[in-house]
Amino acid sequence: MAEHTVKAFTEELDAITQEVARMGGLAEAAINDSLSAVGRRDTELAQLVIQRDAKIDAAQREIEKRAIKLFALRQPMASDLRVVLTAWRIAGELERVGDLAKNIAKRTLILNQAEPIQLTRSVERMGKIAAAHLKQVIDAYANKDLQAAITVWHADDNIDAHYNSLFRELLTYMIEDPRMISSCAHLLFIAKNLERVGDHGTNIAEYIHFLVTGEEIATQRPRGDADVAD
């Protein structure tokens, strides 16, 4: 697309897009690190994830500040309006992803004080799928790749199915050995957080669809966790 007659406008739109992509990188790293912390029982890394959440929050505030300035000073329209609006909305989703990573890290600190539990690996596997989806959707945003976004949107039922399966596994484990209830409950919350990460990735995919086409995705997303309440 051609540049604006006022070049600073183009630069400001590019800058807000880059800031969202940078924030996406921070959120992605937070999820990956929190998963590593769970898998390796790494207390130090978990504490780092908790500390770094402030950076993600700051990135969201920066994006909102830039968006407010663009609304007030440039009155963006059509595709420009969608760029600003989408940046604002995605920043909100990524901030929640950061919070979920922080929550996983906090639970890791508690889990590390108890006996190791085998099911940690299953949670880690599910987390890797969620993190991969997050990476794909952030890349799709940076490249305005509609097809890649739609692929992520359709793939979320895979994460939901993993969560469903893990839920049953953890339940069985808790019934078999009541001493593990506390650790299993934390793992269940971590799994739920990862399932939420998948949902945020799906929301971002929907915003990318709106950004590129100007239309909302019309159809219902397939869901893989129908038998587990949200």
Binding site: M1, A2, E3, H4, T5, V6, F9, Q75, P76, M77, A78, S79, D80, L81, R82, G214, E215
Partner: protein
């Protein structure tokens, strides 16, 4: 061809066939459920050898505001001036195609442009009150068209028109003072009062706020919003924000062609044509 009736006469409802048409974007599209007031089909305008408008087909909805936008020289004012035949006054100007108002040919042989213009009023970029009193500015049109039998009837028309233009409270105690002594914004509202005094159906506005400050502009925009209950309003504006604020339908012109038309909300959030997109986002023009 049926002739246009004179100002102030009972014109009745538009023909049933003109009452509703479906929304068709990029093809003279109309607002859903709105009656079509003006229907243009394949309108071409030539100034001597130079063609200024190319095959413009557009439906203007009744009781709504339609905005014409586009870069300078794109033909939006030329098209606006076709609707009340103001182009007739320009030597060498030729208009072809069909332009119907409520199903009647505006360029029919029996149509008197003077009578037509009582039904299609016009407000210009620069306020142009007559060098007469505020009262006489408003009374001028009704008087020459014989719309009032006596002074009392004229007083009613003047007061009603000034009220409709949102100016009555500001001028009711100084109606004998010159219209030219009012502020720019008040003068423009006086001109609007003068326009509505002859009871038109359609009001054409050619950049009515371009010479006004933001407060006066806001008052005119508020007035436009109130007037659309009673009139069909067509506004030419260079302000995208104004078009977005005041209109329900927007038509984008470029190089003499109607590029895209549709509901204002859609044109400003998700235009279909890349030229519209480039123009409203400030990429050219």
């Amino acid at each position: 061809m049926e002739e246009f009736s004179a100002a102030g006469a009972d014109r009745g409802a538009p023909p049933v066939s003109m009452m509703t048409t479906p929304t068709v974007r990029n093809n003279g599209g109309t607002l859903v459920g709105a009656a079509v007031k003006v229907a243009a089909r394949d309108v071409n305008v030539f100034y001597g050898d130079k063609q200024a408008l190319f095959d413009v087909s557009l439906d203007i909805p009744d009781r709504a505001v339609t905005a014409f936008i586009g870069p300078s020289g794109c033909g939006k004012t030329t098209f606006l001036r076709c609707i009340n035949r103001m182009n007739d006054t320009i030597d060498g100007c030729k208009v072809t195609g069909s332009l119907q108002i409520e199903g009647k040919d505006a360029y029919g042989k029996n149509v008197d442009p003077v009578v037509l213009r009582t039904r299609v009023g016009m407000v210009f970029q620069k306020p142009n009150p007559f060098p007469k009193s505020i009262y006489e500015n408003v009374a001028y049109g009704p008087r020459i068209h014989g719309m009032a039998k006596n002074k009392a009837e004229m007083d009613v028309i003047v007061e009603k028109s000034l009220k409709r233009a949102g100016l009555w409270e500001e001028v009711k105690d100084r109606l004998a003072q010159p219209g030219t002594g009012l502020s720019g914004g008040q003068q423009q509202r006086l001109v609007i009062a003068r326009t509505v005094a002859v009871n038109p159906d359609i009001i054409l506005m050619d950049e009515p706020c371009s010479a006004l400050d933001p407060i006066a502009t806001a008052k005119i925009e508020e007035l436009i919003d109130e007037l659309r209950d009673k009139y069909t309003i067509i506004i030419v504006t260079h302000s995208m924000a104004q078009a977005a604020r005041v209109s329900q339908k927007t038509a984008f012109f470029h190089l003499g062609k109607l590029v895209e038309t549709g509901a204002t909300e859609e044109i400003f959030t998700n235009p279909r044509d890349s030229r519209t997109q480039d123009y409203i986002t400030g990429r050219f023009g």
